[in-house]
């Protein structure tokens, strides 16, 4: 059982006009096995929350804390956070030319597990995980995210999540750019990992569409850099009907 605890998190970015505060006091606790949907309008700071937790250097934490099982996450380097059990599925996964998916996956898994996976079992493990996400085996010889379609990028993110076995995963707009079939495949992947690995999930999304496939236990409405309303799955239904208009001034 793991717990990600975010308390009073304030985050700024440096812009041409100076420091600009994006997150204004975020409080959120996610336990293993729980799915928390973070929903909000564009520009509300949802992605900033995701990247701040993962440790992107662009974001400066000005106050507050983030802990995983009581250990200070903000003191960790980016790779240490991943090793501690955090995973960020990115909205825009980065291309790494000349680095094959298979080399990348093996390197990442070796780093996370602390030892190289055994060749014989590893090949089967990757094959099985790829097959479950309806990915062509030839995919592993391609360069990381280079020339991938939107759907391929997102499947590749979930493939990594499945192999790296995090405790808490942050899915940043994983539904964006996916057609219905890809959305279903990716969602099934997320549900499978959650079930098998007792994963805690922070599911960041603008739309309620993905919530038909990944059922949230909690819904948090994000506006103006903080959580403005919280509830159960019924809150998503309300958002679907009314949109974010009532939070616009929050």
């Amino acid at each position: 059982m793991s717990t990600l605890e975010i308390k009073g998190l304030h985050v700024s970015v440096i812009t041409e006009e100076g420091a600009k505060e994006i997150l204004r006091g975020v409080d959120l606790t996610i336990n293993s096995g729980e799915t928390h949907a973070i929903m909000g309008p564009n520009g509300s700071g949802k992605s900033t929350l995701a990247y701040s937790i993962a440790g992107h250097p662009k974001y400066t934490i000005t106050s507050g804390s983030v802990t995983l099982d009581g250990v200070d996450v903000l003191e960790m380097t980016v790779d240490e956070r991943a090793k501690a059990g955090l995973f960020l599925a990115m909205q825009y996964p980065v291309e790494v030319p000349g680095v094959s998916v298979s080399n990348f996956l093996r390197t990442a898994v070796t780093a996370i597990r602390g030892e190289a996976p055994k060749v014989r079992t590893w090949v089967g493990e990757v094959k099985e995980a790829m097959s479950a996400l309806s990915m062509d085996p030839a995919f592993s010889e391609r360069n990381v995210n280079e020339g991938f379609s939107g759907g391929e990028k997102k499947r590749h993110e979930i493939l990594q999540m499945e192999l790296l076995k995090p405790k808490i995963a942050i899915l940043d707009e994983t539904d964006s750019g996916l057609d219905v079939d890809a959305l279903r495949i990716v969602s099934e992947g997320v549900n499978r990992v959650k079930e098998n690995q007792d994963l805690g999930i922070m599911l960041i999304t603008h739309y309620t569409r993905i919530l038909r496939y990944i059922k949230p236990d909690f819904v948090h409405v994000f506006a103006g850099g903080r959580i403005v309303e919280e509830g159960g799955p019924e809150l998503a239904t309300k958002l679907e009907e009314n949109g974010y208009a009532e939070y616009a001034t929050a």
Partner: protein
């Protein structure tokens, strides 16, 4: 052993276009007529497969087969008494690479001339490895008979003080293909001019280069492709990384398409990756076209900094920063290195790249 006599050619001052990037004061006198250049055969054959004959010929009996306007190469031509001749027999299909090793030089300025004759319809790979100390001026001429296919790989893994000025000139016959890989990693100053001319249609040149300059190194590559016959093809792809204070690389890509060269197909590319401040990459593509009747002609040159988003992505998957940097740099060079298909050499180059990377923190 004999000594080169001085000539009255114009000694470069550094103001001439071909010399404006080169630090003449670090050439250990290779360009100065007052400095004597030792004349000896410095390459040692390591593996000579069947179908190849290597001999030492009198320079008088084996004069240069191309015209040259480079001052230092003129000194080589004037100074050498012997030429190393590599003859690849007609129709020879040689799977194993021909290795020539140069590793026993000292800091005495010396000269070398090599001629490689690739016979009609022969297939071969020649590898020349340079390592250790040395102050060397050399000319290698390649003569590809019709239908010949020659791969030439040269590794500059010199020690930190070495100085190396070279001209690699290929004369490519009808339907022949010359592929070169120039890998320059070591040395204080390396200045290599890979140049190409064609004598018949269907001839093809693929010129690849990989260089990695660290603190204070000057690595210069001056590619010159002359399309003067119809129906020839050229591809140039040079990639470089720079890491450390006053690391300097120069890439010149001259491609000339003469009026007679209808149906020419050419593309040249240079990419540079700056890994630290204080490094400088000069990149000068130059395409001159005297006929519009061509298949294609293009060039591209980019010089950029390390992409922090790539680093973040890899680190967010648990990969430590040093290892993530190595992955990205290996990836940058992989399209060239993976083409080598030489057992042991690919990994050796990648390992050298890793060690260059760790010289200075990015």
């Amino acid at each position: 052993m004999s000594l080169a006599t001085s000539t009255n050619y114009m000694v470069p001052t550094g103001r001439e276009e071909p010399w404006r990037f080169t630090p003449l004061n670090r050439l250990a006198g290779l360009h100065e007529t007052s400095v004597e250049l030792h004349d000896r055969i410095s390459l040692e054959p390591a593996d000579i497969p069947a179908g190849v004959v290597i001999t030492v010929e009198d320079a008088v009996a084996l004069p240069p087969i191309s015209t040259n306007d480079d001052h230092i190469i003129r000194r080589v031509r004037d100074g050498v008494s012997k030429v190393l001749l590599v003859t690849i027999e007609k129709d020879a299909e040689i799977a194993l690479p021909i290795f020539l090793i140069r590793s026993m030089l000292d800091m005495t300025p010396e000269i070398s001339r090599v001629q490689v004759n690739a016979g009609t319809n022969s297939h071969a790979t020649l590898v020349i490895e340079n390592s250790g100390e040395g102050v060397l001026a050399e000319e290698i001429e390649f003569n590809l008979a019709p239908g010949a296919n020659l791969r030439f790989v040269t590794l500059q893994e010199w020690s930190a003080r070495a100085v190396h000025v070279a001209r690699h000139h290929a004369i490519i016959g009808k339907d022949a293909t010359f592929t070169s890989y120039v890998v320059s990693i070591g040395g204080s100053v390396v200045r290599i001019s890979p140049t190409v001319e064609y004598t018949g249609p269907g001839s093809n040149a693929e010129l690849f280069g990989l260089y990695f300059a660290t603190d204070g190194q000057h690595l210069e590559h001056r590619v010159h492709v002359e399309h003067s016959v119809p129906g020839a093809r050229s591809r140039v792809n040079y990639k470089g990384a720079l890491n450390g204070n006053s690391a300097h690389t120069v890439w010149i890509g001259d491609v000339f398409i003469k009026a007679a060269a209808q149906g020419t197909d050419t593309y040249e590319l240079n990419r540079n990756l700056l890994l630290s401040h204080g490094a400088r990459a000069d990149s000068v593509p130059n395409l001159e076209i005297e006929t519009g009747d061509i298949v294609g002609a293009g060039h591209a040159s980019t010089t950029g900094r390390f992409d922090d988003e790539q680093l973040f992505y890899l680190m967010s998957r648990g990969i430590p920063s040093e290892q993530a940097r190595r992955l990205v740099i290996r990836g940058f060079f992989s399209d060239i290195v993976s083409k080598l298909k030489l057992e042991g050499i690919e990994e050796r180059i990648m390992n050298r790249i890793d060690s260059e990377l760790s010289v200075v923190k990015i």
